[in-house]
């Protein structure tokens, strides 16, 4: 049983305090949905969780240990799906996916896992197609297929349903449900509705409307 927590987080972007005093907690099998209007800091929070950004104040911890102490260990247990799909135009769908799967895997071989992930997201028939011929939705599915191609406890999904059709959303919901039943945890930011049983909701707007003057000043100084 693992627990992923953030305590009193402050995020400053370009001298502007995006949110402050934000705390969250997700445990094995749990799901957290981030909501809030555009620009409220959903993506920033997910990037903080992934370690791509550093909080101006506050602590992000895994089982009580700060994630920034051992960033590579933290990288090993998370999958991050951002706005960019990281699909190389000249590589085929299978090659694209296989590269990321091998990079995350411990054994250095991920052919079987890649094939299974392609199947899960309905991409098998596109396996040999170069990335440049994919539609936006297909690219997004390749990006999401990374989730299934190599195991990781924590899935951080930033607007994962953008450009997806109904069937692909259903595939994603099924993948999330299976991941959670195996003890994994999911943090999703979304405006669309993604069906997840017993998911907690965190409205970031509540934290962004009360900028702490101390941190605003700190942001200006930096």
């Amino acid at each position: 049983m693992s627990i992923f927590t953030g305590h009193e987080l402050v995020c400053i972007r370009g001298e502007r305090c995006v949110f402050s005093g934000l705390s969250f907690s997700v445990s094995s099998g749990g799901a957290l949905v981030l909501t809030g209007p555009n620009g409220s800091g959903k993506s920033s929070l997910l990037r903080l969780m992934a370690g791509l950004l550093r909080p101006a104040a506050g602590v992000i911890a895994w089982d009580g240990e700060k994630t920034t102490d051992e960033p590579e260990l933290h990288n090993g247990r998370l999958h991050y799906v951002g706005h960019l799909d990281a699909v190389k135009p000249v590589l085929s769908v299978a090659e694209n996916l296989n590269f990321w799967a091998v990079l995350k895997s411990k054994t250095g071989n991920a052919d079987a896992a890649t094939a299974a992930a392609l199947e899960t997201f309905g991409l098998s028939y596109l396996a040999d197609v170069p990335g440049k011929f994919l539609s936006a939705g297909q690219k997004r599915r390749v990006n999401l297929a990374r989730l299934s191609a190599s195991p990781a406890f924590l899935w951080l999904l930033d607007e994962p349903t953008t450009a997806l059709d109904v069937k692909a959303v259903a595939a994603l919901e099924a993948a999330i449900a299976e991941h959670r039943s195996g003890g994994g945890m999911v943090v999703v930011s979304t405006h669309a509705r993604i069906a997840m049983d017993g998911a907690e909701t965190l409205d970031i707007k509540e934290f962004s409307r009360r900028p702490d003057p101390r941190y605003v000043d700190q942001g200006k100084a930096a």
Binding site: Y80, D85, A86, P89, L91, K104
Partner: protein, 222 residues
């Protein structure tokens, strides 16, 4: 660890082969730049032989800089860099792998072309092997130093010009000792000292440059 390193190198080589005119363009630039000198200076063998080492080295310097701008740019724009930085693998090693691939696709072809150009410049045959050996040590250092510049210019407009302003001054020591080694060989003087210094540059750049590039990349990803 080695498997992942090899995976990144082979992916970059694969990409360079599939989408790249890069290697070809770099070598063509190198050849054309050197060919301009007999045309500009005149065909007198003495003068050409005197300036041969310097001309070939300067052209190699400029040629190796030509492709640096793209070293991280493509990965930065399509989101791959974000995911590479989230691999359970030090970002420094990712940088080193990308530099290896860059050197194999751009530095190595220069070594092959250099003796041919030395003939064109009427260089004494004693200098050919030394020229290739000095370029081998030198271009590897150039790729490493260039990676720092390539990482620093990420996200800036007109990065190419900025890159040359940042990087060319740092290339000067390599140029001085590279040319000096070839001149010594042609003149029949000992050249051990120059090679030791070139080797020293490479050994210094090997840990320092990936470390500095990785720091710059983290900054760019924030």
């Amino acid at each position: 660890m080695m498997g992942r390193f090899g995976q990144i190198v082979s992916r970059d080589l694969h990409l360079a082969v599939k989408q790249g005119m890069d290697s070809f363009m770099v070598v063509m630039f190198f050849v054309l730049a050197v060919v301009l000198f007999p045309l500009g200076v005149g065909p007198e063998a003495n003068i050409l032989a005197r300036i041969a080492a310097g001309v070939i080295w300067v052209a190699a310097l400029l040629a190796s800089m030509l492709s640096l701008e793209r070293l991280f740019q493509a990965d930065y724009e399509d989101g791959s860099l974000e995911l590479l930085s989230l691999a359970p693998f030090p970002l420094e090693a990712v940088v080193l792998a990308k530099v290896c691939a860059h050197w194999l696709t751009t530095g190595l072809p220069l070594l092959v072309a250099a003796p041919l150009l030395a003939v064109l410049m009427h260089m004494n045959a004693d200098g050919f092997i030394v020229l290739a050996a000095a370029l081998a040590l030198g271009t590897a250092s150039l790729s490493l130093i260039g990676a720092v510049g390539a990482a620093l210019i990420l996200g800036s407009r007109r990065g190419g010009v900025l890159l040359s302003l940042l990087i060319l001054p740092l290339y000067i020591p390599v140029l001085i000792f590279g040319v000096s080694a070839v001149d010594a060989a042609v003149g029949g003087f000992p050249m051990k000292a120059q090679f030791l210094i070139l080797g020293g540059f490479l050994l210094g750049a090997l840990p320092l440059c990936p470390w500095a590039s990785a720091a710059a990349l983290r900054q760019a990803l924030e």
